[in-house]
Symmetry: D2
């Protein structure tokens, strides 16, 4: 039985608390938040867990084997490093840290200590993304040609990080999981409509092949959209995470270069030119899988699906995108071998 402590009871922390408390293989031992207004309601709902104001007290608790960190990004490295130093396994809310340097250090520290370091890249654990991965692995899609991701939101501004660090980790972790390779170049263009932080950005990932990935992240949108198109040489997938029913639609590719005249005419007037298939996606809360994978990885001394290294790869792209924005969209080389 793994004893778990959760740090940070703001928006996301209570979701982790709830999910860990529902798992059989672990026990929610402690929660922690410096702000009593955030700590109190969670403590009331989970009276069996110790409620700490100070992080030091939580990692000093001998019943706590593993720590989940749901605090502002700027604090991730300090807290995670201290928890590892105290011999705790660590799960960090995305992104892992706010720089490649600190992410690398954390990965190394965990490895040397023989502790599990995991990142909560929730979407990777969703039924939809796992289904897409299986479609790609089965060869049904053919060669992946591009991924185009749109994640736009309702004007919910963050005050500590820009829109790329806030929203892009979701898409980047999914792309990394689906493609499994580091991009060679990253470029990005941002716009700062209010204050000093970018609230809208376009990020492009280029690879050694013609495969390309592109993200639109935006805090200043009228509607919430979370849509990803994955183009393949045989099929294409539209993944709409907010669709109540058909989250994944798999399409025939349609006519191509050698289309005859009749096919071309048809493509001009039609909405699509082949059958569509929408596989059933079982409904489960992906965060429950994140927590279960973390606990199981500890028990079996193995890495999680989105471990520290996966988190570092995402931070690598985030940092390069940030750098590209400062250089007016100049492309930044980060791969393929990290050179």
């Amino acid at each position: 039985m793994i004893g778990v402590g959760v740090v940070g009871c703001g928006y996301w922390g209570p979701n982790l608390v709830r999910n860990f408390s529902a798992l059989d293989q672990c026990e929610l031992k402690a929660i922690c938040d410096a702000n009593p207004d955030q700590l109190k309601p969670v403590a009331k709902r989970f009276p069996a867990a110790a409620a700490y104001n100070r992080f030091e007290d939580l990692i000093a608790d001998p019943g706590v084997d593993a720590v989940a960190i749901c605090t502002p990004v700027g604090t991730h490295y300090g807290l995670a490093s201290a928890a590892l130093a105290a011999g705790k396994h660590v799960l960090v809310e995305k992104p892992l840290t706010d720089s490649v340097e600190t992410s690398e250090r954390l990965v190394e520290q965990a490895e040397q200590a023989g502790l599990v370091l995991a990142v909560d890249h929730t979407f990777v654990y969703s039924g939809a993304v796992q289904k897409i991965r299986s479609i790609i692995d089965s060869g049904t899609l053919g060669d992946p040609l591009y991924i185009d991701s749109v994640r736009i939101n309702l004007g919910l501004f963050q005050s500590d990080i820009n829109v790329i660090w806030d929203l892009a980790p979701h898409d980047l972790s999914v792309i990394q999981h689906l493609i499994g390779r580091r991009p060679t170049w990253v470029s990005a263009i941002g716009a700062t409509h209010y204050g000093t932080l970018e609230s809208q950005a376009y990020v492009t990932l280029q690879y050694e092949s013609t495969f390309i990935a592109h993200l639109h992240v935006n805090w200043l949108a009228p509607v919430k959209l979370r849509s990803t198109v994955i183009g393949g040489s045989k099929k294409m997938i539209v993944y709409d995470d907010l669709a109540p029913s058909e989250k994944i639609r798999v399409y025939e590719k349609g006519v191509t270069m050698n289309a005859d005249h009749a096919q071309r005419q048809r493509a001009l007037v039609d909405y699509r030119v082949g059958d569509m298939y929408a596989p059933y996606i079982e409904k489960h809360e992906p965060l429950g899988q994140v927590c279960a994978d973390f606990v199981d990885a500890i028990l079996n001394d193995r890495a999680t699906l989105t471990d520290g290294v996966a988190g570092l790869e995402v931070v690598r792209i985030l940092e390069a995108a940030q750098q590209s924005i400062r250089k007016n969209g100049e492309r930044i080389r980060i791969g393929p071998n990290g050179d």
Copy 2:
């Protein structure tokens, strides 16, 4: 009564033929196509019009006052220039020509000859775009913050031009019409999945202000999408050209930087945070308006809504985007004053 001749009876030409023939203020005098298989069926449906195989014959026809050119882009300059030289008013299918240089020459030639030069930027004439323009003009939207346009298609490859020259003129002409200023920098990234022409591209327009415009054009998509989001400081518009009913939806902007905690929570779980309004858009064929505006401009010696200068501005951006792709996305300065 203006005599009109239409050159090119492939995909788009017959639509112009049909629309000109339905207008009261003009008469369809002639059609022309070098390919008899394309010419014949149109000639059969419009027996009153002379059917020419050679363009020279069409512009030599004294009954033809105005020529509409619906041929491959590479031929636009030559044909339009010859028609102007023969004293004909000219309407050219988008884009105006395949280079800034030839477009500039054409604009100058028409001006010196005192002839109408128009570009068929069809979407600018649509009820939806005209409605959006009136919403912006009324101040309801507030300051435009960004335009994000997606125009993706069913794998319908062109063999003479890449996807930017094929699809982006639509979005660029709409953006030009709505914003009315030349961007300062253009950058673009393309991907060539088959053959030698880009089949997918992202184009970014940056302006002196923080306003930004971004286009995704793609021939290799599983579904047809034509969607534009226009973010404003007061309202936001989602324009979905393929929606059967609500083509334009106008949203409240939603919570912003100074949102209190409750508002932020609401934005995290909600799909939107204010009312939505979908104005009625009268259904008409925009191409009919294009043709009527062209004829009326000739009769009244005035410029059309999308005249040669508007066409040149679009070509300016297309050429810069092409240049940026060749330079790996480096941004190309084109404005604000053309310097």
Copy 3:
């Protein structure tokens, strides 16, 4: 080459004129409308056809072998009967006539004269309905359990017939085509919101088996809907005629009576429980097929897909529904053997 005359140049007639004129195997010989304002614009577009004000003149035209009748329902019988008497093949806009008695007479008259009598049940000719028919015929659907059809409109009132006679022929002809049996009982409830004619009605068809069909027709709706659900013992089909892309969606049936607890829970929270498949439907104008089938039936001395007998069966149900409304929804026996 069959000479065709079209009577009635109001809303629907010109569509028939256009489609007949595009066919190779026939020639548009004449058009006719008592109202010169309706006749004139059509005559202008099709100058080769004789334009008659009087129906008598049209059927006296020796070049006219076949007549298409697009006039108010109350005139169908008189005109069609006269045309048959003049030796013309006849295509009547739906519904065939306004009573079972006149429909029966017309069918008999055509049969005795050896002439083709067809009804323009346009939707039966659509790619979508033909696809559904093939899915049923292949056994994929299993036993049909029910058809539920909704056809509601934008407040477009008719002044001569009620909403059942106006809209239900579409759904009834589709149901007849898919199920191929006469219902045993018909019942209907109507509401008269304005004037004296029902503007909203619900019609139920009961059969010898547990199969049931139900229609909602409505002139007073805020949006246009044309949706049909076909439940089968193995699969279910949702047919949305207005969907730009997925007109037909084929679903797994989902859990059933013997579902275990886990399946039941899943069904309670999920939107669907199996895969979905949306076959590609080729886009064509069904009315073109109606015209082509009519002409080909004449040439080959055969019945059309929706012949007089099919039209009579629809009128049989319409009349029974009307009778049921007058009797407050009492069910009226019409089948299965017409007794």
Copy 4:
């Protein structure tokens, strides 16, 4: 502080448990289920509540002031009556009981005992239905002309009650809340596709005026739909409870009887003819409001929004619908004054 006990820990009970436990003005004192497999997991999550196997023990618990009953419909009357006899306030899951007779008795018993009797008609408490009610009350809709409701499901069969008793209470309670009058006649037609209980039914409510309401309830549908159209003399509302974003859309009524020719043509080709407005609906869990209203009604000695009388009115319609099905759709008089 009101002590609450919840009876029945199957599908719905745990939701009530969770909502009561989150309220400030009450305390979850006890839960009860005869099935230990259902009782146990709830007892584990709420250790402070007593867990009873026998209902008698729960109502004997002096800490329990109010009882919520979430058991099969057939047991509602017995349990509720016993709880009232024991001096407990009672909230019953819909429908109140399985007959008019027992519902009437229960209402009388509660009245004589001076206890609160409430029915959990959850949808009436939803933000969407409350918004529709306020639109009707404000006169914006004009006179209500009809309500058309569709509630179809994923093949989730019940074994104790038919589809009308299972699903129609939702729509009937909403209609009652919006219209506030008893229908004069009820008629219904059902179909039994498997076993002996109707799995699909159509219910019509007729009133003294031309107002009409119609329900389609169905267990055997490929997709889940919960859609209601409310037609008014000035506006029309489409309420789609499953829409992630626009649950309520308010439409202009569109053209009417006196439409001129141009308007009629427009209505024939358009999808709608006026503006549309989708008011923002705040997202909250309606069941939380049900629980809060129940507790507050007890504290303030008042009736709830959906009290016993409201529950009785719904049962009145359900029973009449059942009777009509047995009589092949004959209409059953129940109002307007209960004669």
